[in-house]
Symmetry: C2
Subunit: 145 residues, 2 copies
Amino acid sequence: MHGSSVGEWLPAWRSTQQRVAILRVLSGCRDFASARELHATLTLEGTAVGLTTVYRTLRALEQGGRVDVVRERTGERLYRPRPTDGHRHYLVCRRCGLSRPVDADTVERWADSVADATGFAEIEHTVELTGICEQCRLLDAATPS
Amino acid sequence: MHGSSVGEWLPAWRSTQQRVAILRVLSGCRDFASARELHATLTLEGTAVGLTTVYRTLRALEQGGRVDVVRERTGERLYRPRPTDGHRHYLVCRRCGLSRPVDADTVERWADSVADATGFAEIEHTVELTGICEQCRLLDAATPS
DNA sequence: TTCGTTGCAAAAGGTTTGCATACCA
DNA sequence: TGGTATGCAAACCTTTTGCAACGAA
């Protein structure tokens, strides 16, 4: 087997210093991160990478199905490495950004059944769950307005 | 009863020529429309309304729960009048934009159960379904590449 | 008359692109 | 060496905001 574990899914993916750095930082993210945040982290680390390159790399990863993407209320895209094959759905805390994968078999089955019932083909679905996590709720309770 | 059917949900909603026009065009939309599209339609109709006003009106309608909103891949927001109380989910054709409401009880129940299981509170969910509608599929079949 | 609304212009964000340069394979 | 990747600057797009003028109640 040749090529890195990242490069196998694209015909001409070159392993560059920048891409390695982006992937390293992205892998270290427990929660979703925006292109801007990744870029800031890289800059702080001393690994200077152009914002453009961050965007281009994230787009490539997205097209290759290597990251999960959610959208902020503002329209900003947030990225997170995909743990396994197949896409995941997440529950994201609106307050602190904590994210956790949730079991979405129910939704997957529902989407399939909708496809059957409507005559639509090639159905894709996006599911975004947000809420307030337990810790943030406790903080809220401890600091009443 | 006083006030228009639109104005009941906001403390100080004035019925202006522009808002009436926007609501009229929006009501006539079978499918989702962007602010830009609504503005273009209004302009073509001869009802000159500022793009800013379209945005502000749509935002007010959104906050009042009077429209359903979906997000394009680009991040652009698309609006559609909400037929009844409570939010709806739609299946939207990626080719022609045709949209139809779908029964989403399954998803609603799933979201509720996730809330129970995770300890998250105030859970909100976004579900977006896209596909290729029957008509577009037939067109595709009739016009092979 | 009063105060919410409008519309222009400009700003604000996030994301993409043109193009010359740098660099991996 | 050849072709891809990079990065800067600038363009793009959608959405928001400042502010003076307007108009509904």
